[in-house]
Symmetry: C2
Amino acid sequence: MLEDISKVKKENISKLMVSFSDPFRLEIIDLMMDGEVCVCDIMKLTNLSQSRISYHIKILKEAGLISDRQEGRWVYYSLNKESLFLIKEWITSLTDHSSHRKRSCE
Amino acid sequence: MLEDISKVKKENISKLMVSFSDPFRLEIIDLMMDGEVCVCDIMKLTNLSQSRISYHIKILKEAGLISDRQEGRWVYYSLNKESLFLIKEWITSLTDHSSHRKRSCE
DNA sequence: ATTATACATCAAAATAATTTGATGTATCAA
DNA sequence: TTGATACATCAAATTATTTTGATGTATAAT
C-alpha cells in the first residue's frame, strides 16, 4: 500500500524530469518565472511556432508542472509550485540520504 | 561574460535533466543511494543487459551526475553530490524567485 | 600463454520524441 | 453573421534516443 504511494510519486518525479528534459521547455519554464504567460507571449519571446509551443505546454501540463487559467480568448500558464517542491524534496532525499559506502567486489 | 557562465550552467542543468529523464536511469540512481555500485551489481539488481547499463552509465557520467573509481577489473560508480546541489539550487531559484504576477492581454 | 571476467564501444535496428503544416474550436469584435 | 484572434489537436515527416548483439580492451586468475 505504502509502496503504491511511493510508486505513484516516482512516476510523478519521472514525468516531471522528462518535462524538464527539453531545452525549449526549460526556456518556457524560464519565461514563467516572471509570472503568467500566454502562448502568444511565448511566441513573441521565443520565435517558436504556435503548435510547437502548444505541444510543449501540453507536456508540461501533463507532468503537473504548470497550471492554466482561461480568460476570454487567452489561456494563461504559470508554474505550479507544488510540483516544484516535490522535485526539490526528491533531490533533497538524494543529497541527504545517499551513502558514501565503498564497494569492493573480489 | 557573466552570461556565458550562466549559459554554461544552463547547459549543465539541461544535461542533468536529460540524465534524469529515463526510468532506468532513475532506477540506477536509486541503487547508488546505498553507495558505490559496479555494473555487475546493477546487472544483478535490475536484469538489464550489460551494454544497456553501460550506455545509461555513460549518459549519467557525461552529465556529471556520477563519478567513477576503477579498482582492478571493476569500476565503481557513485553519485556526485556537487551536481545534485547544482540542481537543487536551480529548483530553489524556481520556487523562491518565481513571480505570481497575473497577465492580462486585451 | 591461455582463459575468464568486467566493462566499453560500435553499428544496425527498434522505438520514441519532436516538428511541421493543416484543420478544428471557442471567443470576441465589427 | 462574418471575420479575426488565440489556442488545441492531428497526421505525416523528421530527428533523437534507446536497445541489441557483436566485438574490443584491460585486468587478473590458472
